[in-house]
């Protein structure tokens, strides 16, 4: 891992960075209107239509092309539901519409992870404490070693295996994330504290399982197993896709992590700085952005998690120009490049750092005075 020294920004520069990004946000907010409403309703229409088509085609699942088409439609439906619709609606991106069907408090998505739990661990914890070691539980999700700052131990030899399991079972992993299992094991948290989280997991998990693995298969009668396999495949496709997009958002090489000490008393500009340096984009075309829920614009998403995702591609050039102006990196690359970078990191971090020579970077400075890629 190469050591890149990041530019030092003065207090005045941080302040003007914060101001520029606040102004950009305000311009988008002032421009929100009917086009944004129409967009999300169009996406929903496509998603629900694909879902109905997919479920319908599986009634003819004895005919292999129908099964393949059905599973494809259902997979795409679940991906759209989870990413461009669910993730974004539950971020409050469409709360300004005051439409109960698209309200962050009311919406739930087509996965076993209950909306309420996810909003806590994702919208609050992850988006507030992005990439702060020890605070952002999305660094490794309590399972993986994704940063040199996580001290190596032999458990991490299984890093690639855990990552593959998490990829295949992603929705179940997200479901269990808010249980904070590692804190239960370490005794930091009591079992009784997880009561609400457990109840929601049970209720949501049961409904989702019943729908995909009992009711719809049963409706197709003698095709029970074929339909069950179809639904399981669609869930698997969505899991692998969601995992891949999400891991490309924060774990490719070049993405920075921060310490709690560094990020104390952050200014608005410093907060933006951490969001930009802690995220990575994936380049691609409009269809790719749609299918990734525009999380291919992870940098824009982390700067402005509450503005409608369709706006991210529009503002990306401006965000990039701001980065260039302040000499800050704008981490982006093609899907295969970012994904390769992520898997390389997963494998490399499975082994002790000493194996790769000296620890990866100089000691961390503070955000306020400019910093270097952090060391173990």
């Amino acid at each position: 891992m190469s050591v890149t020294t990041l530019p030092k920004l003065s207090k005045a520069q941080f302040d003007s960075l914060g101001r520029e990004l606040d102004e950009l946000r305000q311009r988008v907010i002032d421009d929100l209107g009917e086009a944004d409403r129409k967009y999300i309703y169009d996406v929903i229409k496509v998603q629900r239509t694909l879902e109905v088509m997919g479920r319908g085609l599986l009634f003819a699942g004895f005919f292999p092309p129908a099964w393949v088409l059905g599973v494809t439609a259902l997979s795409v439906s679940k991906i759209l539901d989870n990413m461009e619709i669910g993730h974004n609606v539950m971020h409050g991106q469409y709360d300004w519409m005051r439409d109960p069907a698209l309200n962050s408090k009311m919406f739930d998505w087509d996965t076993v992870a209950p909306a309420e739990n996810w909003k806590h661990s994702h919208n609050y914890i992850h988006h507030t404490y992005t990439n702060i070691l020890g605070k952002d539980r999305d660094i490794g999700y309590g399972v993986l070693r994704m940063d040199e700052g996580q001290k190596w131990n032999p458990y991490y030899l299984g890093n690639p295996v855990y990552a593959c399991l998490l990829m295949v079972l992603f929705e179940w992993g997200v479901m269990l994330h808010d249980m904070e299992t590692e804190k239960l094991l370490s005794g930091e948290k009591k079992w009784s504290e997880t009561k609400g989280v457990r109840q929601r997991i049970w209720q949501k998990g049961l409904k989702q399982t019943l729908k995909d693995y009992v009711l719809f298969p049963a409706l197709t009668g003698p095709m029970f197993l074929t339909t069950l396999a179809g639904n399981a495949t669609a869930n698997l496709v969505r899991n692998v896709w969601a995992f891949s997009i999400i891991f490309c958002g924060h774990f490719p090489s070049g993405v920075q992590t921060f310490t709690e000490a560094e990020t104390e008393n952050e200014s608005r500009g410093q907060w933006y700085y951490r969001q930009m340096l802690g995220s990575a984009n994936i380049s691609g075309g409009p269809l790719f952005h749609l299918m990734s829920g525009n999380l291919s614009h992870q940098i824009e998403h982390h700067l402005f998690p509450d503005i409608p995702a369709r706006r991210y591609p529009q503002i990306a050039p401006e965000v990039r120009a701001i980065c260039e102006k302040y000499g800050l990196p704008y981490n982006t690359g093609g899907f295969s490049r970012q994904l390769t970078s992520v898997f390389t990191k997963i494998v490399r971090l499975a082994l002790p750092d000493s194996l790769w020579g000296s620890p990866s970077g100089p000691p961390a400075g503070t955000v306020g005075s400019g910093r270097a890629v952090r060391a173990a």
Partner: protein
């Protein structure tokens, strides 16, 4: 049987619900959500529009004097307002709303300009306590002003449908004759009971604003009657004062429909903050609502404290708040706000 079927369908449609699929076929196909289709539109005065609305099957009807919450999407934002049906409660399957386009009325102006047959609206079930008693009084005085005519007109039409044999007088205030909605129909319905008062023109049965002489002239029997009143704040105050002076306030039933305008300076920390659910009120300290709630000893759910995570979103039931990030004001009642980035402007009530 029906509910078992519905529950099965909902299990299949989880987590989105059946309506989210049915509405893709047709917006009026919803099972749980209440909607209405505009079936006819009449513009009876220069600034009012009368809509006939056919609600979806779950509509439970209304009692004369009640209101419904109607919502439309304007520039991407769902805007809800309360309107009283003006029709008799005994007409099944549809009702009428007469909407006056106020100068600053976003929804009323939009409806006046855009309502057409086929328009689908969001609806609530009818609500409100401003209704006639089930056992009709012998003498009834109905007083309205401007667009406050709708709930009392509904009462009059309901009584007419019931072939009411008691004494009823309907006193309505308008600027001029041209401002009285559905005038022809009104005359057909209740010519002998109708008293029109014009505040800005001659030619009515009465002239000028409400006072005791108006009351004595149109309903000398007011002390034995039940009076139902709905109109603009000036008229409401005038009638309330006269009834209080005469010691018959207990016979006056009122419905306010225009919230008092907000005239407080957005930068001043004035007024009181009311946390309605926990029955606490404290003077506005100028801090964010999250901080003020915590200072009042409450522990509202919250997260980032910077407006990004939406954990602290709550419904502001009354008043105006300012977003500390950009100064944007939220003035509508029943609007969702984020406590951590909202500062009260004047009196504010939060559902917390």
């Amino acid at each position: 049987m029906l509910t078992t079927g519905l529950r099965f369908l909902e299990a299949l449609a989880t987590p989105h619900g059946v309506d989210r699929y049915l509405e893709l076929i047709h917006p009026m196909l919803t099972i749980r959500e209440l909607r209405g289709e505009v079936t006819s539109v009449h513009r009876t005065t220069r600034d009012t529009v009368t809509l006939t609305i056919r609600p979806t099957r779950r509509w439970r009807g209304f009692t004369a004097g009640q209101y419904v919450r109607l919502s439309v999407d304007i520039d991407g934002v769902r805007r809800a307002r309360c309107y009283s049906p003006a029709t008799s409660q005994h007409r099944d399957g549809h009702f009428e709303l007469t909407v006056k386009a106020h100068e600053s009325g976003l929804v009323s102006r939009w409806l006046h300009a855009n309502a057409r047959p086929g328009l689908i609206l969001g609806l609530s079930q009818a609500e409100g306590e401003f209704t006639l008693p089930a056992e009709r009084p012998d003498k009834i005085l109905l007083i309205s002003g401007g667009s406050g005519i709708t709930p009392v007109l509904s009462m009059l039409r309901t009584l007419s449908d019931e072939d009411y044999q008691g004494t009823v007088t309907f006193l309505h205030y308008a600027y001029t004759e041209a401002d009285v909605p559905c005038l022809e129909q009104l005359r057909d319905l209740a010519a002998d009971k109708l008293v029109l008062a014009y505040t800005d023109a001659a030619g009515g049965d009465l002239e000028g604003f409400f006072d005791e002489t108006h009351l004595r002239k149109v309903a000398p029997w007011f002390a034995e009657a039940q009076t139902y009143l709905c109109g603009p704040p000036g008229l409401m105050k005038g009638v309330r004062d006269v009834f209080a002076d005469l010691g018959v306030s207990d016979r006056l039933h009122t419905e306010d429909f225009a919230p008092a305008p907000i005239t407080v300076d957005a930068a001043d920390a004035t007024g009181d903050v009311t946390f309605a659910r926990s029955h606490r009120t404290a003077p506005n300290s100028g801090a964010t609502l999250l901080e003020q709630a915590e200072a009042a000893g409450l522990k509202p759910e919250h997260g980032c404290r910077m407006g990004i995570c939406f954990s602290c979103t709550r419904v502001k039931t009354e008043g105006c708040v300012r977003d500390v990030r950009n100064g944007a004001l939220s003035t509508d009642p029943d609007e969702e706000i984020q406590l951590c980035v909202s500062v009260p402007v004047g009196d504010v009530a939060i559902d917390l």
